[in-house]
């Protein structure tokens, strides 16, 4: 108890001393080598807290329990809490075993730090995983160890969503090219409709990144985009500048409140016909009233440069496991089950049904929208995930800052990009 020292200042000074520092470092930062208990059910930490998705996960866990001798216990945490706590979960002494999360760079970042369980055993012994596509195989492989660290289960897609009945009412149709897209915006505006809804306010600033991603993969291509996000190019390069020049062409058609409302509120505007269309992922339909679901349709983000290989944003969801689990066999067993067609169908049936299964044998929800979505993704030469998934969760706030600033002050794009590069460097070097 050094705290008895009467002099607070001396106490603080003492802390700076190297000796104290070495002593202290032992506790807080140690990723203790303990393993989680090997008894009891596999713990499954889930961020799927929306009512339908949560219910679907409960169905899935119940079906797993019925299936074999193993059990999983589901623990659902609010998505925002989950995101901030994930590093803490993974580094804790007694971590949860299995987590919902994303493959690609995000998972790879944790794998590089030896926090993720090697799932090769599941991939080689599961008849389902053996038949997964090559793209998924490489997506789930850690670049540092060459091991599989992820089991993908479902994916969804981003697109320009609209209501069929509204487009019919306004007498407009899906555009193919950038010019047709601008025409469509003009027509909608002349009819008094806000052409493009956004929803990058109220805590969902990340939605704006979809526009950046899409413009970049349309103008510079998916390869460049991934390299940019990995720090191999600079945000103040002329290539990136071209993205924003394009964006400025459509900026007048954006909802002026787009950066002030959350995407859920923007979805409501879209469904009510106050806005014409919106670049969003299929998850927005979770909050849509059932009767509106059949009326929802989408079109591909317009092609800008036909020489660039067609890329689409189609994020994959699934599971990884903590390297420090004490229930290795149970985790592998659960992972193999999650990869089966049966498990994925149970989840799709229980949730809003707008996601596609990763298992080639699993049936999707079968609606026209989902069929179109599958064809949409299949026709792409390259797939990107999303800004944070292709980079890291830590880089996302730098994009949010830069993009909201651009939406408010498009003229100062030069300084915005310089700042973005500087902020991103801090993350890459962290």
């Amino acid at each position: 108890m050094t705290n008895h020292q009467p002099d607070r200042r001396r106490f603080l000074a003492g802390l700076g001393a190297a000796g104290a520092a070495a002593l202290l470092s032992g506790c807080v930062t140690s990723t203790s080598s303990g393993k989680s208990s090997s008894k009891g059910a596999v713990t499954l930490q889930s961020n799927l807290s929306a009512p339908q998705a949560k219910a679907a996960m409960q169905d899935l866990v119940a079906a797993y329990a019925k299936k074999g001798s193993e059990r999983a216990s589901l623990n659902t945490v609010a998505a925002e809490t989950f995101r901030t706590q994930l590093p803490t979960y993974l580094t804790s002494a007694n971590p949860p075993d299995v987590y919902t999360w994303y493959p690609g760079s995000v998972a790879d970042a944790y794998a590089k730090k030896n926090l993720l369980l090697d799932l090769d055993q599941a991939w080689t012994s599961s008849p389902d995983l053996k038949r997964y596509s090559k793209a998924l195989n490489s997506l789930c492989t850690s670049t540092s160890s060459g091991k599989k660290v992820f089991v993908p289960t479902t994916y969804y897609w981003w697109g320009m969503f609209y209501r069929k009945s509204n487009f019919a009412k306004w007498g407009v149709s899906e555009p193919k090219s950038w010019d047709e897209f601008l025409d469509l915006c003009d027509k909608l505006k002349s009819k008094g409709v806000t052409p493009i809804g956004l929803g990058a306010g109220g805590g969902t600033a990340w939605v704006a990144s979809a526009w950046f991603d899409y413009l970049d993969i349309r103008i510079n291509g998916a390869q460049y985009h991934r390299e940019l996000l990995a720090g191999k190019h600079r945000f103040d390069d002329p290539e990136v500048r071209k993205v924003f020049d394009r964006w400025q062409e459509v900026l007048p058609y954006f909802d002026p409140n787009g950066a002030a409302v959350a995407f859920q509120d923007a979805s409501t505007s879209l469904l009510n016909g106050r806005s014409g269309m919106m670049l969003i992922g299929t998850f927005f339909a979770d909050a849509a009233p059932k009767n509106a679901l059949d009326d929802i349709d989408f079109f591909r983000f317009p092609i800008i440069d036909s020489k660039i290989p067609l890329a689409e944003e189609a994020p994959v969801d699934g599971y990884f496991a903590s390297a420090r689990t004490g229930r290795y066999d149970q985790v592998i067993d659960l992972m193999k089950y999650l990869a089966t067609a049966e498990a994925q169908e149970i989840y799709i049936k229980g949730s809003s049904g707008t996601v596609l299964p990763c298992n080639p044998d699993a049936k999707d929800a079968g609606t026209a929208l989902v069929k179109k979505g599958r064809a949409h993704v299949d026709s792409a030469v390259e797939i990107t995930q999303f800004f944070n998934r292709d980079s890291s969760d830590a880089l996302q706030p730098t994009a949010d800052n830069a993009l909201t600033k651009f939406l408010a002050k498009p003229k100062s794009i030069g300084s915005i990009l310089t700042d973005w590069q500087r902020d991103a460097e801090k993350i890459w070097n962290a």
């Binding site: 705290n3 802390l15 807080v28 590093p87 730090k113 109220g202 950066a259 706030p397 909201t404 801090k426």
Partner: protein, 311 residues
Amino acid sequence: MAVLTAPERKSPARPPAKGKRVRGPRRTPPLVLAFVLVPLLVEAVWVFWPAAQGFYLALTKWDGVSPPQFVGLGNFREMAHDDVFRSAAGHTVLWLVLFGGLSAFLGLAAALLLQQERRGVGFYRAALFLPVVFSLVATALVWQAIYQPDGVLNQLLQSVGLGSLRHAWLADQDTALYAVIVPALWRQIGYVMVLYLAGLKGIDPALYEAAKVDGASAWQRLRHVTLPQLRSVNAVVLSVIVIDSLRSFDVVWSLTRGGPYHSSELLSTYMYSTAFQSLRLGYGSALAVVIFVLAFGVICSYLVRAFREAD
């Protein structure tokens, strides 16, 4: 979190300090020692020890996952060149002046208005104090609903013919900081009012009577009796406000997260986003140390003066 403090020794009848030497300075009963040490131990385990680790982290570069690297004062050097830090510090000062000044002024005004025991006064006091007990989560939800682009405030403006003033209050860099101060004040004023009410209660009524006999007007009584008598409460309120301002986090974070693009960023929100969103825990800890030093400096300078006066 707000801080509550009792008005310090303002009674003219305070006993002389020597009266406290009940047992003499040399021998302290073991029980009394235990009375101090047990709470101190609890606080040491849950606060001082973690804080010491936090201070150590301020000298490192750490992503929360791999082992931290010791960088000495590197984080503090980085602050000197960090524009966001500088603007966050500026906003914190503005916050201190606006939020602090207004809550002290309006809290005092409310206390003066509601100091007399009369019919209905309990209800009015309760109304002003109620937001203090409202949870932050609920507070944030209410004010989000109020500030929405088609929320209550804009609809209200529209209905009274001021539709041109409609605004995305939280999403505009020019209004975000001020829009966030309002709910913070809403929560703080009732609290400051209660502190002042307690202070006003303690003023000897004979002083007012004497002033009245001398023909002092209401304003003169306020100026020459009330305010001087409130001096020690003022000092408490001041330090409470400074601490609360420096630590203001919850309302700002839940309404704007410091955005749009840092325009409502305070030191406390910047610290949180640096540490937990950008996962730069070392730099975030260094920012926390800065906040702590500022808060501790203010409260210490006040307390040291108070102690000196007491001796």
